[in-house]
């Protein structure tokens, strides 16, 4: 092509590379060091720029965009404070394996190290919170680095990549060569398992009497094909399946083999199935401490298979019998083919007995609650009604962090992957609202709801401005219990009910707050009004803030108290937790 020999500025090369990577949208905030990029953005119309109100929110928006589409989210921030504000978002994306490329401005190369205005050691600061990062010192490297960054962000275990761009590099001139297809010289993650490993998986599955699948966010990152393969394999084997917080949607929640989410606030049947199984097949999950409970008491009778694209996830927390490195869709595809080829006999009698046991645990009905029609609104009830009114729609749910997040995870049923966006690893309050905006931008016709708490929502509430500017009809469904609920719950259970600093004092009037940002505010205070409020919220084609006043005393159950074994669950407020000194030190 003749265009390939064109001499372009660094900023133009950058935009051309983004465009060649298929980028249609970037989330950013301007500043001195990135002015050349903003000037180039102004003079083109292939890439849409979304102006955020805070750089942390820009990263969360890119995460919402990425997680709901399976594509790489792109962020553009300036040097110094722009970059440091992005750090929380980058760490969030690293912990939850979200593909993000973050472009940061930098002072010109001759000023680096001089404590110049708005200078920060961005590559130094972001080294531990990115999958990889670059400082581009020479214009000759810019195109290659940009293409490499996208490759690294999306391949293997996805993650955030920072490209730090000194202003003089952005203004220098050079020819552009498209390098979108190049191979990286050292980074080539393994995606395919070997045949012996596949055979071993089939053998272990066929021999199991009490198998359970334990799947996580890796299935979703592997793409919809992985979810389909997982569903097929679970059906073929007849085994129960549980999902992690990150994995919700990887397997249809309404399917009868799904026993719910596992972990600290997972279902009784899911945790007990893990504890009593004789084979755990972990698929794209990482045996995180929220899942295992006390590690030495975790699933002691079970053999364990761990399939993950990241070799460092295997044998990190829990020693497994078979570790298989590969992409979930490829590995499960091979397992399915091998299973069909061998048609192994399953021990139907053992499986029936296993299911009978699981049904007994299910009968405990661990998520039950009572809504008194004259009492305060139970948060569980509000979420159930929200689910009821949105199930026929194309709905995406994001959350903030805390009790509301766990209630949403327990109660909202996801039938498909990429519909549920929550901050799992880092637990970032303030994640959900900007993430929802990113989702809405990628899916303009969909219903996008951030299930929030009144404390979390205030951590990125300024993005109401972004919602208004781009007319994004995102719904903020605030379960307002006037407490940092999860903090209060732990203080009640672990610290003698001394509610130190966990009361949400001096809250704003959320209805007026919404109105001042050109959104619609709704308040609901009685159980009888919940339905009408949700209907109205869904009917309005504008951003809506719902102030759902819920019972301030409600706690989230079931719960594995910190430091306890995963089979020692608290099922309700009448059970007292026996917390060891060791448990007190856990988070």
């Amino acid at each position: 092509m003749s265009g390939e020999q064109q001499v372009l500025s660094g900023a133009e090369i950058l935009l051309k590379a983004l465009s060649d990577q298929g980028v249609d949208m970037i989330f950013g905030y301007p500043g001195g060091a990135v002015l050349p990029i903003y000037d180039a953005i102004f003079q083109q119309n292939r890439i849409r720029h979304i102006l955020v109100r805070h750089e942390q929110a820009a990263v969360h928006m890119a995460e919402g965009y990425a997680r709901s589409t399976g594509r790489v989210g792109v962020v553009l921030v300036t040097s110094g404070p722009g970059a440091t504000n992005a750090v929380t978002g980058l760490t969030d994306a690293l912990m939850d394996s979200v593909p993000v490329v973050c472009l940061t401005g930098q002072v010109p190369t001759h000023l680096i190290g001089n404590d110049a205005f708005q200078e920060a050691d961005t590559v130094g600061i972001t080294r531990p919170c990115t999958k990889h990062n670059y400082l581009v010192r020479r214009i000759e490297d810019l195109a290659r680095v940009t293409h490499e960054a996208f490759y690294i962000a999306r391949s293997g275990r996805p993650g955030p990549v920072v490209i730090d761009l000194p202003k003089d590099v952005l203004m220098a001139k050079h020819v552009y060569a498209n390098g979108a297809g190049i191979q990286h010289r050292s980074y080539r993650p393994r995606t395919k398992a070997d045949t012996a490993e596949i055979a071993r998986i089939v053998e272990m599955l066929a021999a199991a009497k009490r198998p359970v699948f334990y799947a996580g966010g890796g299935v979703i990152n592997s793409g919809p094909k992985a979810s389909r393969a997982l569903t097929e394999l679970v059906h073929l084997t007849g085994a129960p399946i549980t999902l992690t917080l990150m994995g919700l949607g990887a397997y249809p929640a309404s399917d009868k083999q799904f026993v719910g989410m596992l972990g600290m606030h997972g279902t009784y049947e899911a945790n007990l199935a893990m504890a009593k199984s004789d084979l755990i097949v972990s698929v794209g999950a990482r045996f995180d401490d929220r899942v295992t409970g006390r590690i030495d008491a975790f699933a002691r009778g079970a053999r364990k298979i761990h399939i993950d694209i990241d070799p460092s996830s295997i044998n990190k927390n829990v020693a497994v019998d078979l570790g298989v490195v590969g992409d979930i869709a490829e590995v499960l595809g091979d397992v399915l083919a091998e299973w069909r080829r061998r048609r192994p006999a399953i021990d139907e009698k053992a499986l029936a007995a296993w299911w009978k046991q699981i049904e007994d645990w299910r009968a405990v009905d661990c998520l039950k609650y009572v809504q008194d029609p004259n009492g305060p609104i139970k948060p569980q009830y509000a979420i159930d009604r929200l689910y009821h009114f949105t199930r026929g729609r194309e709905t995406f749910i994001t959350t903030e962090v805390g009790q509301h997040q766990m209630w949403a995870a327990q109660r909202f049923k996801f039938e498909q992957p990429n519909r549920w966006m929550t901050s799992g690893g880092l637990g970032t309050m303030g994640y959900g609202f900007p993430a929802a905006l990113g989702v809405q931008l990628a899916h303009p016709e969909a219903t996008v709801i951030d299930i929030a708490g009144e404390a979390s929502i205030l951590m990125n509430i300024q993005e109401l401005g972004t919602a208004a500017q781009y007319r994004l009809p995102v719904k903020l469904f605030i379960l307002n219990n006037q407490y940092m609920g999860m903090v209060r719950q732990w203080q009640e259970l672990l610290h003698g009910g001394r509610y130190s600093e966990s009361y949400s004092d001096a809250l704003p009037d959320f209805v007026k707050l919404a109105e001042s940002f050109h959104a619609v505010g709704l308040r609901c205070e009685r159980p009888g009004d919940v339905d009408a409020c949700i209907r109205e919220m869904l009917a309005v084609d504008k951003p809506v803030v719902v102030d759902m006043r819920v019972d301030p005393k409600e706690n989230c159950f079931p719960m594995i108290p910190s430091g306890a074994a995963h089979y020692d669950m608290l099922l309700g407020p009448n059970q007292k937790a026996a917390i060891s000194d060791h448990g007190l030190t856990m988070v």
Binding site: R127, K131, H132, G156, I295
Partner: protein
């Protein structure tokens, strides 16, 4: 965690010689609480811009496996090799040892240096700088003997290592 034995391993890591690569490796160890007993690094291939890092580390077998997996997923890392488990290998360290003294002590230091095959690479009327290489134990023994003979200063490289035989890295 269960009580497991702490093992010492020598890891050889081939990396791209690019800005910040050592910081990535060292940051990984400090960030995840792993031990570095010694670390050496230098470019070994100036055409391909590759550096070789030799790390001596210690931990339980599970931790050692984690360290290798974590190193392996750093983007500029080409290869991680655990010399301790991958068969027979050589370990060498080099030290410069400065000793000041006169008279009998000075003569004695030279005599011991001879036994250890250390070379005097600098000499003044009142001092020597010895260069010694070999196993870390040998270097330590030499330094300990020099303490009574006017030891002034020690500089050690840390361990470099390589597998025996024809097999490449």
């Amino acid at each position: 965690m269960t009580e497991e034995t702490i093992e010492t391993h020598i890891l050889a890591v081939l990396v791209d010689n690019e800005a910040g690569v050592l910081a990535r490796v060292v940051g990984l160890f400090s960030g995840r609480g792993y031990n570095i007993d010694s670390l050496t690094v230098a470019e070994v291939d100036s055409t391909a811009h590759r550096s070789r890092i030799t790390i001596v580390t210690s931990g339980t077998p599970m931790v050692i496996e984690q360290i290798k997996a974590q190193l392996g997923r750093l983007v500029p890392v080409h290869k991680v090799s655990d010399l301790t488990v991958e068969g027979p290998h050589l370990e060498r360290e080099l030290a410069l040892v400065k000793v000041a003294g006169t008279g009998e002590k000075r003569v004695e230091s030279l005599r011991i240096a001879d036994i250890f095959r250390a070379r005097a690479v600098d000499s003044t009327a009142g001092s020597f700088v010895f260069e010694i290489s070999g196993s870390s134990d040998k270097l330590t023994a030499f330094v300990d003997l020099m303490r009574g003979l006017g030891l002034v200063e020690v500089s050690r490289t840390g361990i470099v290592a390589m597998s025996r035989g024809a097999k490449p890295f």
